[in-house]
Symmetry: C2
Subunit: 577 residues, 2 copies
């Protein structure tokens, strides 16, 4: 593509509204333009990147045996009433009436639609398994859309729906999708992890989030340095280390700690490290008061408290209730407490001689032994994982990193097929509900997340598989016939090797072209100027490493081939699941 | 693709609601399923046909220098207020409010969106010309959606928008799109005509409808047998033949015609052919009464009457008004008439001695000479074209045929750019509005119209370029290892020649497979059975001609290659514009 035949409106500055780097760079590189809140036009350069991702997704879905179709964006309300989601989905489901006053919505997902279409005709066990997918535009009326394509209202998604006769089949279908996802993100050249997700209320252990690793990610994930374990921090189990203190501590002793209201102040006041202290947090769990003890340097994980009781609700006890139960703010502890339950984290089984609030204002205690001095209801896994904890699967060390969710695989079971009466007949002519799975990839989100992961101060650094143009040629002297001729010759050579290539043929200063090339982020740059040609050379630049090399202008094809292969090798897929 | 790995739910009968053949066949062939009124799921087989069309559209748009992007489906109301269409578009524009009560609509077309995005940044004459296109889902809330994909509410369209600095440039852009459209429909293997369309109120002669020829089409078009002239019948000009009668007729004579109320009855009563009689129709044209005279065997074209006066409104005069002006029903004529204008069709300049209503109940006149006996205000082109008229361009004979509009090219001028203030700076730094064109192809409609054009009693007959599978292999004896082995061998051979191929490997009777293959409409069928293999042959069938041939099972590849090339040659593009 010649720049002059393309439409590539680069910007020096991004509009102030752009908060994150991918949003800023996509605006500056002319990839997207905002139409209205959370709704973007995919401009030619952005559209190409989206299509590169979509093509690889499509290839791998086909390879995994899924069959492509395309479902409508406008959906009738009645289907959502059948599944129960018309009421439960909330305001993200954009609802409206058509000219005949029929209630409709814009599809944020397509479980209802696919089930309604198949239930009439997917009737025999011989038609199973079946996996149907689409790559299609969705709409979710987010209350606060932001971050460009990371959290838009209108977006492109690949969604697949598998249908099986039983759980075993559904697990095979799930595995095939999991493997396809791993291949997709590997082929795209992205660093990612498949993270076990909490799927408590839906059932089954078969739920994974696929996270692209990026410092700017919204989620924190813990990744094992040795095995393939990875988990969302909020959901990470902590393995108890076992072992107890052999010697009981000296007797409990009250100490006056006037004005000391936090663990930090306590440690300063007594000159002890925080891991010698206890922290007590109070929750209202379905109406019961629960005190939760963790080490002073740990953080209580509210989700674990809720899951421990399998509760509908678990929230922090409001301050006004604390006094009532003998928990004065800043001086609460496991003593003198009127809580319904006192839970302690597993970690507290092995230590002793704790420092904790005394349960009366202005005092703490030391030499606290939980078994001797307190009445703990139970020990459990109640805290957030930290980087010091070992991998719960293999015991190796963990790393905390941040990620962006770009895919989700889900074993649905019979949730929708039972509600919407999608039955098939088995070999014995017995009617049974279809066992389903659903599998999503946010295609437009992948492009934005890819940029969060791959950029520097100068702009985007596209992996070759996603780059709209794997190569950009910079003609530094477009007014020179000789340079332009060589640029076009090289353009044809590179196109001949099946690479997408952009030739910057604008009448602009070299500085503008260098800046724009770095901004646009083609992994390979070929720089052609009059001075280089006089010396018989053309310069090539590896956008990611910044490394430059000089290639013979006369034997460009051979030199480029070698250089390109080495660069692609650096980017080549390394499975990272 | 193996049938057993695909999802291809064929039906013996189409649901009763399907009124036209493409709708019935697309349902029966498992191409579409209805979700709600005018909204269809594109099932895998239908989705493939749509993608085949979209791919060729995309290739030819790119070849013509247009650049692809993708615009949102949800659009803000404010843009439509700027262009004035929020009020004028009517109920086909589906409007709604989002969760923050902002007014939006679903895009039925994208002039407003593209202009709003470009007006901030397409600022210099050096960026022109520019042509941007997308292939995207649109929604028009049709009052009575029907005929499946021929008149749906949700549909896929290719829409392109060109931007030029002046009319000359816009005409070049228009011509490039016109040529691209001709290449697209030619490559798709469809019989079509580019028809000059009435673009009175938009200005310029640059508007064409691209019509697929099909007996079931909604529009009648007149096509020249010699030159490339083609026109929508409603808009077809009729060329006056010139020449006048040399002899004046005998004097006017009144004849009693009791109870004769129509041209047919008059001709029977007097035993004369209808081309000796005059027909008089009455119109209310912006409040004036206009009498229109045409030959008794002709049909008045109301659009021409309206255009003659450049009127806002032209409709038939209601019967109760007819008596007031001396036009008794059945006996009205150009005599004794209180009309504001009497217009006569050009054709009436050359004849004489007409028979017409006398202007009083129960009587007609004969020997009427318009110049002598009536006061005709003007002669003009006022009637519908017929097959007897000569081509207005070259004089050769015309053919009337029916067609389905699948594309429209349009020179917009500055309608949107002026209303929405989309200006660029010319060489002299003068601000000028962008000169626009827009160009649409109904991608999903093309697939349906293709089937209207190409089918028989047994099912679809896909042109090779649109067929989801160019070849279908029928394994008649799937339980025979030998037959199955040969079928798979041939499947691999055909896939190797880059053709999309479907292998019917189901455990079904041969009759079911024959019927389904004809229904699905792959242009080539390869039929493999135990009996044939015993004789060393495999049968091939040309779906369109029905011609069968036997190929050697051993040397299948060579024989198939020859047969295939001959069949594709039959389908090969013949430019038909």
């Amino acid at each position: 593509m010649l720049w002059s035949s393309f439409y590539l409106p680069t910007l020096k500055e991004a509009p102030a509204e752009a908060e994150v780097v991918s949003h800023r760079l996509m605006l500056r590189a002319g990839m997207i333009r905002k139409l209205t809140s959370g709704v973007y036009a995919y401009m030619p350069y952005g559209n190409m990147a989206i299509n590169k991702v979509a093509d690889i997704v499509r290839q791998e879905m086909n390879r995994a045996g899924a069959v492509e179709l395309s479902l409508p964006m406008v959906q009738p309300a009645d289907l959502w009433r059948e599944s129960g989601r018309w009421v439960h989905y909330g305001k993200e489901l954009l609802r409206f009436k058509d000219r005949h006053e029929r209630e409709c919505c814009l599809g944020p997902t397509h479980e209802e639609v696919i089930v309604s279409i198949l239930r009439g005709e997917l009737r025999s066990y011989r038609q199973l398994p079946l996996n149907l997918y689409q790559i299609q535009t969705k709409f979710r009326d987010e209350i606060r859309p932001r971050f460009g394509l990371l959290r838009g209202r209108e977006f492109i998604m690949k969604d697949a729906y598998s249908f099986d006769r039983d759980d075993e089949g559904a697990e095979r279908s799930y595995k095939a999708m999991y493997d396809a996802y791993a291949r997709i993100f590997t082929r795209l050249g992205l660093r990612f992890r498949a993270v076990e997700a909490d799927s408590g209320s839906i059932g089954g252990k078969f739920s994974h989030e696929f996270m692209l690793l990026a410092n700017t990610g919204e989620d924190t994930i813990a990744v094992c340095s040795a095995c393939d374990y990875a988990t969302n921090l909020e959901r990470a189990a902590v393995t108890p280390r076992g072992g107890k203190n052999s010697l009981p501590p000296p007797p409990l002793e009250e100490i006056s700690t006037p004005g000391v209201k936090s663990i930090e102040e306590l440690c300063l006041f007594l000159d002890v490290p925080p891991d010698r202290t206890l922290k007590t947090m109070f929750f209202d769990v379905d109406g019961k008061v629960v005190a939760v003890l963790v080490r002073g340097d740990r953080v209580v994980n509210g989700i674990k408290v809720k899951n421990y009781f399998d509760a509908a609700l678990a929230e922090l006890l409001p301050p006004e209730k604390m006094a009532e139960i003998g928990a004065p703010a800043g001086f609460a502890g496991p003593l003198n407490l009127a809580a319904d339950y006192i839970l302690a984290d597993h970690e507290l089984e092995e230590g002793g001689g704790w420092i904790a609030g005394a349960g009366k204002t202005g005092f703490h205690v030391k030499n606290l032994d939980l078994e001797r001095d307190a009445r703990v209801s139970a020990y459990a896994d109640l805290r957030l994982l930290t980087a010091e904890d070992p991998c719960p699967r293999c015991g190796a060390s963990l790393e905390l990193t941040r990620g962006i969710e770009v895919g989700h695989t889900f074993k649905l079971g019979v949730k929708y097929s039972a509600a919407m009466k999608a039955y098939f007949l088995d070999e014995n002519s017995l009617e049974r509900p279809l066992v389903m799975g659903c599998y999503g990839i946010g295609v437009t989100r992948v492009v934005a997340a890819c940029i969060e992961q791959n950029h520097d101060a100068d702009g985007i650094i596209f992996p070759p598989a996603i780059a709209p143009f794997a190569v950009e040629i910079l003609n530094l002297d477009p007014k020179s016939g000789k340079v332009t001729e060589k640029a076009l010759e090289i353009y044809d050579i590179i196109r001949g090797s099946k690479l997408d290539v952009l030739l910057d043929d604008r009448e602009e200063r070299p500085g503008v072209k260098f800046k724009d090339a770095d901004l646009l982020g083609s992994p390979m740059q070929v720089i052609i100027g009059a001075r280089g040609l006089e010396r018989g050379i053309v310069e090539v630049k590896n956008r990611r490493s910044g490394a430059k090399a000089e290639l013979s202008a006369v034997n460009f094809a051979a030199g480029f081939e070698l250089w390109k292969d080495r660069l692609l090798e650096e980017w080549s897929p390394r499975p990272s699941v």
